[in-house]
């Protein structure tokens, strides 16, 4: 078939003009590579956040209120000290509230003889187990007695337990947290790494009373987790909590809240918003880079046509129609563009994998960018190849042989 023969001539043309071919692929390659990387970062961030939500043990009937103004996980200030146990008690007294877990939190170094690691140490009330639906596989959880007596006991997550004790049984052993010795009484059930690399097992729990008076030596809370009796009460309860906290913290009517909520709904909304922003960025970047890539192809092809003007003339002399010449150059630009797209996809995939491997950014490789790469480079080749190809075809055959 004529079409295939023109394709064959196009491939030969590309082979014979390797330098031009390479230069033409460059623009598209970079465009598609950045597209691939950006998409995979976007996907990675999204799945990280989604994993966070599921791993925080949020049901639709619960929410957290965190100390400090800001939004979700992003506190504006690190040293807001206004949230106290009084707030937690007041919330517990509200109707429709099932469980209230006040929490303190700090990253600390924990040490067993020569082994040590840094982990998130939480001071929590015994209701934590119920509120999170997360229990121990070995030993016991923190109880009311530990809480009342401010005992120096600790429940380890799987990750620090493994780091400090390896395969040995940690129950009953003494470990040091900062400068204070604790007895290990329980081992939390292992949740395993999430897809995005977040490790929910990287934590240790101690009684809130102990953390307040013996370890962190502070009375203010990091956050309070509230579980209502039914999802329909969440909104109302949140409004009530706002009232209580503002009153307890002595905020005037004009002052901003010095606390913030984390709800599954809020997180989802945030994910959607950031995803939309990301998609807009992505669209802009990929459009610009592919536009540039396309213009590069068009210009090189136009120059190449001047270089190959005799070839075009001879082909026309020996019976090539205008459509044959158009097809040949269009095939060249589409093929070059696809080649650039494929190379860009491979480069992008490599970069994404490297980013993930070296823990620089969360990335997740999906099929979308590769399909996008294929479609986009096809379109770019077609759009930006048309002008040079038609120009080549409409050259006057007798002028091309001068």
């Amino acid at each position: 078939m004529r079409l295939f023969r023109n394709l064959e001539q196009a491939l030969r043309g590309l082979r014979l003009n390797k330098a031009n071919t390479f230069l033409m692929t460059l623009g598209i390659m970079i465009g598609i590579a950045s597209l691939t990387v950006i998409v995979s970062i976007g996907e990675g961030t999204k799945s990280k956040v989604l994993n966070r939500i599921t791993n925080m043990g949020f049901g639709p009937e619960s929410f957290s209120v965190m100390s400090g103004a800001g939004r979700l996980f992003f506190g504006r200030s690190r040293n807001t000290t206004s949230m106290t146990l009084q707030d937690a008690d007041d919330i517990r007294a509200m109707p429709n509230v099932a469980i209230v877990v006040p929490r303190q939190r700090k990253r600390m170094r924990i040490i067993n003889k020569k082994e040590f690691t840094t982990t998130r140490v939480y001071g929590v009330s015994p209701e934590w187990e119920l509120a999170r639906g997360w229990g121990v596989v070995d030993g016991v959880f923190l109880g009311d007695m530990e809480m009342d007596r401010k005992r120096k006991v600790i429940v380890l997550g799987a990750t620090p337990a493994h780091k400090l004790f390896g395969e040995k049984d940690p129950i009953g052993k003494k470990i040091r947290v900062g400068q204070v010795f604790f007895e290990v009484i329980g081992l939390l059930e292992k949740k395993g790494l999430t897809e995005s690399g977040y490790d929910p097992d990287d934590r240790a729990l101690i009684p809130l009373t102990t953390s307040m008076s013996r370890l962190f030596r502070q009375t203010h809370l990091h956050s309070i987790k509230v579980v209502t009796t039914h999802p329909e009460w969440v909104k109302e309860t949140m409004a009530g909590v706002t009232q209580i906290l503002r009153q307890n913290h002595g905020l005037s009517a004009l002052a901003d809240d010095d606390f913030r909520y984390v709800t599954p709904e809020g997180i989802m909304q945030w994910v959607t918003e950031s995803e939309q922003a990301l998609n807009r960025m992505l669209f802009l970047i990929s459009t610009v880079s592919l536009l540039v890539g396309g213009i590069v192809i068009m210009n090189i092809l136009l120059v190449s046509i001047q270089e190959r003007i005799h070839e075009i003339g001879v082909r026309r002399c020996f019976g090539a129609r205008r459509s044959d010449i158009t097809q040949q150059f269009l095939f060249e630009s589409i093929f070059v563009s696809l080649l650039g797209g494929a190379m860009g996809a491979i480069l992008g995939w490599t970069l994404s994998t490297a980013l993930k491997h070296f823990d620089l950014l969360p990335t997740k490789i999906t099929w979308d960018p590769f399909i996008l790469a294929f479609v986009f480079s096809m379109i770019v080749g077609l759009v930006f190849g048309t002008h040079p190809a038609r120009k080549a075809a409409w050259l006057n055959p007798d002028e091309t042989l001068r």
């Binding site: 030969r12 001879v314 002399c317 020996f318 019976g319 129609r321």
Partner: protein
């Protein structure tokens, strides 16, 4: 004349428009060429040789006049039909060879077959035969860069023969060659003509022109002489 006319041109005019300025290059040219004829067209530069070649080769249309090639009226054809005629009926040989660079002699000769409506059976053998015919059967894999000027011109002759054309149109075929290679090329044309091939050579070299049976002299867009060459010998 009993032989059928391959080319029949009647009062061809060609006018170029350039920035509003009209230049009349061909002023009423009429030629008829019999099958198997051997014609050379000579004339000083600017006489309109190239323009005439363009029209004879169906690469451009005349402003007025009629052109019948192998019984087919060419004047009204579109690009598609003209391309078919160029492909099937005309074999071009150029002064500057115009071989595809980096492509083997074999593939260069094969090139016109790409644009046939149907790739003929035994295409490879045909290419081999054509190259054998010009004495380059042993150099089929060589690229133009690896061939001498004379050899390159012989490749173009093989290329012009590949589709078994009605006429061979050679534009200054010896212009880029030394006299020895030029003479060899002309001998090849002489042999082709003796095999019955219609050949038109456009040149300004009278020695080359003397190879033909009939010599047309072009001056200022008109044919000023049309004589039979007495020294012509059927080889």
């Amino acid at each position: 004349m009993t032989a059928p006319k391959v080319i029949d041109i009647e009062s061809i005019y060609k006018t170029y428009k350039n920035e509003g300025l009209e230049t009349e290059v061909l002023k009423g040219i009429s030629i008829s060429v019999d099958e198997g004829d051997y014609i050379s067209i000579i004339g000083p530069s600017g006489a309109g040789k190239s323009t005439l070649m363009t029209i004879l080769g169906c690469l451009g249309q005349a402003t007025s006049g009629t052109y019948r090639l192998d019984g087919e009226e060419v004047g009204q054809l579109n690009d598609r039909q003209l391309s078919r005629i160029r492909n099937e009926k005309i074999g071009f040989v150029f002064q500057a060879f115009h071989l595809l660079p980096g492509v083997s002699a074999f593939d260069n000769v094969m090139m016109p077959l790409v644009y046939c409506n149907k790739t003929p059976k035994g295409a490879d053998e045909r290419v081999e035969r054509a190259l054998d015919r010009v004495g380059l059967g042993h150099r089929m894999g060589h690229t133009p860069g690896q061939l001498s000027g004379g050899e390159q011109q012989r490749v173009t002759i093989a290329r012009s023969l590949i589709n078994d054309p009605k006429i061979i149109l050679a534009d200054e075929p010896t212009g880029n060659l030394d006299s020895k290679n030029g003479a060899e090329i002309m001998t090849t044309f002489d042999q082709l003509n003796s095999e019955g091939r219609t050949i038109i050579v456009i040149t300004h070299d009278t020695v080359v022109a003397e190879h033909a049976r009939r010599i047309l002299t072009l001056r200022d867009g008109q044919i000023v002489s049309d004589r039979v060459n007495e020294t012509f010998q059927k080889s």
